[in-house]
Each structure stands twice: as structure tokens, then as C-alpha cells.
Amino acid sequence: MRRLAWLWIFVVAVVGLVLPVSAADKPVRGYESLGVVAGKQGGRLTMILGDSPPSFFYYGVIDSNLQALSQHLYDGLVEYNYRTYELEPALAEKWTISKDGRLYTFYLRRDVKWQDGRDFTADDVVFTFDQIVTNPEARAGDAGAFMVGGQRVRFEKVDTYTVRLTLPRAAPATLQYMRLYIMPKHKLLPHSVEGGAKPVDINSAWPTTVDPREVIGTGPFRLQAYVPGQKVTLVRNPRYWKTDAGGMRLPYLNQIELLIVRDPEQQVAQFLAGNVGQLNLSGAQFPDLKSRQQAGAPFKVISSRTLFGSPPHLAFNFDARNPELARLFSDLRWRQAMQMAVNRQRIIDDVYNGLAELPGHGVAPISSWYFDTRSFLGKFDLQGAARALDELGLRTGPDGVRQLQSGRPLEFTLTYGTDSAVWPPIATILQNDLKQIGVKVNLQGILSRTLLSTGLSGNYEALLLAFGDQPDPELRKPIWQPGGALYYWHRTTQPATPGGEPNFAAMQPWERQVYDIWETGGTTVSRPQRKALYDKWQVLFAQNLPVIMIAKPMAVGAIQNRYGNYLYSLGVIPGYNPVPLIFQK
């Protein structure tokens, strides 16, 4: 027995000498400040999926559960640094961008294998972008991102490990899109146009009834089994191309289980029972779990500032049906008065249990694109707001409600989402505070998922909504550029025909300025110049208040003490997946 053990050690040592960690592997290092330590291999982690994945094909359906699952299975050419959110090499070992910003060359990491053992090459990359991502019929593709100035971006294979992109004109956000997951050509070819299928057929690749062995990526884990409506099981990819700081191959865990649990209370119950290892929480669930932790429960609750996540805002419809309200809401002085009446500190303390901070304007405060606009937020000051309303000529009537010029009472409907822990209390706080200054707010609750479509339909007066922050402002252009598809508070700026020129005549002067900033920013190559442009936009945003930003929530997660190296991840952002670092103690 002993001799066998020695023999084993000898074999391992020799193999270790002969096969050093390939130079093409990516060491994951530099995260000591985040508390990352060397882990050990083995173990299993159970996490939650909020619902069944509708498909296993990432580009077939837009679905947060599919996204949460996909991050374990696939990789992109580039990915985010866990600490700085800057892009760094992933499947591409390095890349170059020509001076004019039109030519991108990606040098792929060699010796990366698909999970079935086949080589990963430039063919896969070109196939993914050419046949899947830019296929306009792919339901979760992104053809729009690769149409620059009305022309398609060209993808070419230079050699087995080199891919070149040619853009019609400079578009610096293109690098962000290189996070998109690369798919195996040898598995998906029959579903593509190149393989003889119709464009729409790509959506039916890899349905959830497929043999799990067919679904392969380059990612840290591969699909092992799926029990419909109950559980997805993933196993470690022993050929993964990342190592830890000490050269040990990642991921540490042998297995990941994704338990399908819809109800948030049931998720917490499963976590408390120890069936689940990690859980993302809302601020409302924080106090209960934190007090259990302090009472000695075997888990940690962690809150952290993150870049992702959606800061709520209050929007007034510049084009409200009632012309008097539309005129008022378009007036900057009205929105300034309303900003003074937003009690941010109370919302942060009461609604988020303190787990939120003052918001940025279109950019998360920890982003490198952030410009500090906090001084523009002002202080909560109801008397000041009342004075500002007086100056607008909105006199208080006999019943304590201010009157519009026409003599009608100053009241508006505030639409909010009922199925959430944050919207109802925020709406109530606003309603109560505004009542004190003679503004009558009628609350209208709807399902959260219909908030945006209600906004886009223009059928509302005021609305509470949140848009997710992204690492590059360009990714949120349709929201913040006047005339953009999601610029819902001022719909008259929309182009008459989709894709046409926006309605400049409807824009206020500052909106035109913001529009031009976005146009220039989208084609400027130099990072400092882009930063200066987006700084200017953030200031214009903070001064002119197209919407009133309320707060930026923090991320809250809980993890059982038996696991180490837990970094919070929202779970649905391609290119930000710290799970390979998690290990079982």
C-alpha cells in the first residue's frame, strides 16, 4: 500500500515536470485585496435559479436564468477584471486596435479545448459572430451591435488562431461586445445558414430536451443533467484554461447544482436549511439574515458596492396627455422642485436598510466612467420645494392642494410596480412628502415587468423605474440619448420612422447637446476624450434632470461558511463570473 502511494507521488511529480501548466493558460491573480486566497480542489456548490431555463442555447432566448446558467458553460474573447471592471483577455490572449479604431485583431489563446476535446479555433469565433450573433433572426442575438453606421462589421479568419474585425467606422464600444460567448461550430453548424438551415432555425438549437453531452462550451463547467423544473447539474471541466495564482487549474469545485426555486421566501428557506450554498438577496431580506449570522448561523451575509444593478429613478412625462401637466413637467424648475422633495436619505435608510448610496447619473459611482455629480443632488428640503412651486405660480387652494393656472388641482398619477419590495414604499414616501407641499399624488400600482412598456406607450404621468448600469456608457445609449428607443419620458423626440433622424424640433437645447455628445462619444477612439464627453453628459443630466435619480442599491449576497473566495456576482452579466474561484473548505 505504502509503495503504491510512493509510486503515485512519483508519477504525479514526473507528470508535473513534463507537463507544466501550458503557457496559454490564464492565471487569475491580483485579487488579494478582495480577499481571494489559494483554494483546494473538490466539493460542490448548490445555487439557485429563479426559474427553469427555457433553452440551453444562449442566443435562442433572452432569459435571465439561461444567462445565469450560461456563464458557467461559455466564455467570450474578453472579460471583466473582477476588481476594476476593465476588459482583459479571456479566450483572446491579446488584441490590437488600429489607430483609426476600425481594425481589431484578436490573437486567440492556444490549446483551449471544447469540452468534448476538440480544438477551439478562429473558425468558431467567426462562426459565432457571422452565423449566430449577427443573424437578425436569432432571438437573443445582437445584430444591432454589429451594424455600425448602417453597415455590417466584417469578421475574418486570418489564421487558425487569429481573427480580424473590420468596422465601417470607429466604434469603441465594440470591444465590450467581444464578451459575447463563443459557440462551437462543429456542434451548431447544422442549425446555421452556413450549414444549410433557414436563418430562424438557429433558435431551435439545444432545446432543454437535448442530450446534455451535446451542449458544450469552453467554460469552467459543463452540463451534466437537467431535471425539468427542478435542477440543473454541472460538472467541472478538467481542461479549463484558467489557473489560480499558484498555477493550480481552476475551477476548484467539482460540481455545481442549480436548484430551480421561484419564490424568494422559499429560496431563503432552502438557504437557511443548508440545501443551498449561496444566495443573492434584496436589501429587504438583509436584516433577518444578518441577525441570524450574528446569532451564530453558519453563513455570512455580504454587502458590496457593485457596478451592475439598477438605480431607481422618478420620471415625469414631458408629453403627458394633460397639456397643462405636460408643460409643467417639461419645465426644469418643476423637476428641480421635485428633486428637493425626494427624501433620498430616508429611502436609503428605510427602503434599502441602509444598503444603498447616493446615485450617479447614468453611470454607477464605482465605475471608472463616473463623474461625481453628488453636489447637484441638493438636500431634501420641503420648504425650498414649496417656495419653488410658489415661484412657478402654483398657489395653494382652500383645500390645501395647489392649483394649476386653469384652476384645476395640481395632481398627478404616479405609476409604480406592486410586486417588489422597493417600489411600493418609495412611492408612498414620495406621496406623503409631496402632500405636505400641496401636490396631490395618486398612486397606480402595476406589475413591475410592465413598467417599461407603460413608459414607452406614453400612457402615464409620472413613473418609478430603474435601468441597469453597464461598464461602458455606450451600452446604455438607447436609454440616455434623446430620441433613443428607451428615452421614454420625452417620446416626441423619437424619429418619425424607426432608425431615422430623431425629432430635433421637439428637443430642448440641453437635450440636443446631450444628443450630440452621444453621437461623438460613439465614434471617438481616445479613452480620455470619451471620458471627457461622458463627464459633460453626466453634468448635463444632473443639471437638467430628464429623470430624477433616487439611489444606487448595493449588492447583497449570502454564503455558507464552508465556502471560500466568494465574490458577489449578479449572475447575469456576460464576462463577469467569479465562481471558478469559489472553493469548499
Binding site: 427555457p54 433572426e137 430536451t209 425539468p228 423544473g229 421561484r262 415587468r449 412598456s453 424607426p498
Partner: protein
Amino acid sequence: MLWFVARRVLLMVPALLAISALVFAVIQLQPGGFLTQYLEDPRFSPQTVETIKRQFGLDQPPHIQYLRWIQGIVTRGDFGYSFLNGRPVGSLIWERLGWTVFLAVLTIACTWLIAIPLGIYTALRPRGTAATIVNLVSYLGQAMPDFLLALLLIALVLSRGGANVGGLFSPDYIGAPWNWARLRDMVAHLWIPIAAISLEGVAGLMRQMRAQLLDVLGADYVRTARAKGAPERTVVWKHAVRNAINPLISLAGLSLPTLISSTILVSIVLNLPTIGPFLYDSLLNKDQYVVTTLLLFSSLLLMVGNLLADLALAWMDPRIRYQ
């Protein structure tokens, strides 16, 4: 009799058609659409919206969508396509039907096996201590929503350090091959949903049975039976219970559609892999063919249940004749 069944089955066709049209119309009235949930995704351009609408036939007027759907059912047995899951509706329902039927049969059996004897017992001894306690519990059972009871049971299990707080299995046993350990694990999980779903039914059914039997026990023919010297057992079981149970059989027919709809909330809070939450998600997402198919299925179950109840009545009660 055969003619009666045939006529009833034939009548179901226009009824189902009317129901499907009505349900489809109501879903069209629901604000928002299947695509609204995606609007914020950075990938979701207006062009994508148009493309997907075209792919799913949502660019057609509603009546065309409806007629195409009906045509698919009649000609190909195709119940349409789930937008959300990108798969035919039929296979999605089939996937979830097993556990749904299993749970429903178990809870319905439990409900009847407990409720009928309890109802008879409390009717025979209406003023005993045991009957008073049973009555009290049944009041509570009727007053408390099933999902609340489920949540309370979860809290109870958690506070006692248990791990069987939802679902049908521990994570380890999901999808594992059957063996004794897995069966034990399932039983350890199963009692919570069975208790939560059954209690309300037991309470209701027991009170019905009790009221019916009390009624019948006061009837003249029961007094006659006693007067002519029939033994008490014959009086109760042959004369009274058999007459008292008739309305309950009609009630049983009505309970078939609960297979789909009645356990939605319990299934969500207890994370059961049944059709209920699937219907709920489809409603929220306006996944129209899933919703219409499920509601159609539910009405079909109702009609079949009624028919079966009528047949059972004819069999139980010699006075009932179908010509």
C-alpha cells in the same frame, strides 16, 4: 346510456370552442405583451421586436392567430408554441403532468379518506368532545389559506433544524434513480404539501358530509327504518350515508380541474414541479398558447369530471335514469 354519453361528449366540442375563443380574447385584452419583459435588455433592438413578432405570428390580427391555432389542434394535434420556452406547448405540459397528477391524486385521495369518515362521525355524535375539536379544526382549516399553512409548516421544520423545506426531494435526490433512500426522502418532503393542500379540502368536505348526513338522519324514512327494527348499522350505512353522499359525488366531479389551477400558490411557496406555477408564469408573460391550452384543458377536465360524476350518480342511485 351510451347515447347519453355520446351526446354529452358531442356537446363538449362547441362548448370548448366557445371557451377557447373567450379565453383567447381575454388574453389579448391583457396589457403589455410577451415581448415587454425584454425591452430593457441592451440586445433588444426595435428590429428584434419586429423579427420575433413575425416569427411567432404576432404581427397577424388576433382572429387569424386564433384560427391558425385551432387549425393546428384539429389538423395536427399541435397546441401551439410556447414563446417563453421555444418549444411546443404539448411537450411542455406533458413534462409537468406526471408530478401534477401524482400530487393531485394523492391529495384528493387523502382528502376523501379523511373527510368522509370524519363527517360521518361528527354527524353521528354531533355533541361529543371529539366532534367539537374536529369542528374547531375544520373552521381553522377553512379559514386559513393553504399557502399560509405551507409557510407555517416550513417555518416549523426550519425551527426544528430540518432541511425538507420545499420541493419533493432533497437536492441530492432530484433526478437520482429510485431506491429506498429516495422514497424515504420523498415521503419526508411530501407530507407538507399533502397536509397543506388537503386540510382546506378536508374541512370543507367534512362539513358538507356532516350537514348532509344530519339532514338525512332526521328524515322520515330513517325513522321508519329504525321503527321497523333495522339494526343501527344498516340504518346509518345503507339508508342514511348512501343518500347523503349523492351531492358529494357531484362535488367530486367539480374537483377535477383543481389538478391545474387550485394549487398554484402552494406550488410556488413550496416549489413543487407542477403545472400550477407554469400556468402562472405563462399568464404573467402573456405566453398566449400555453395559457389558452391550459385553460382549455382545465375546462375539458371540468366537463369530463361532471360527466363522470353523473355516471357515478346513476350507478349509485337507482332513482336516477338517463334516457
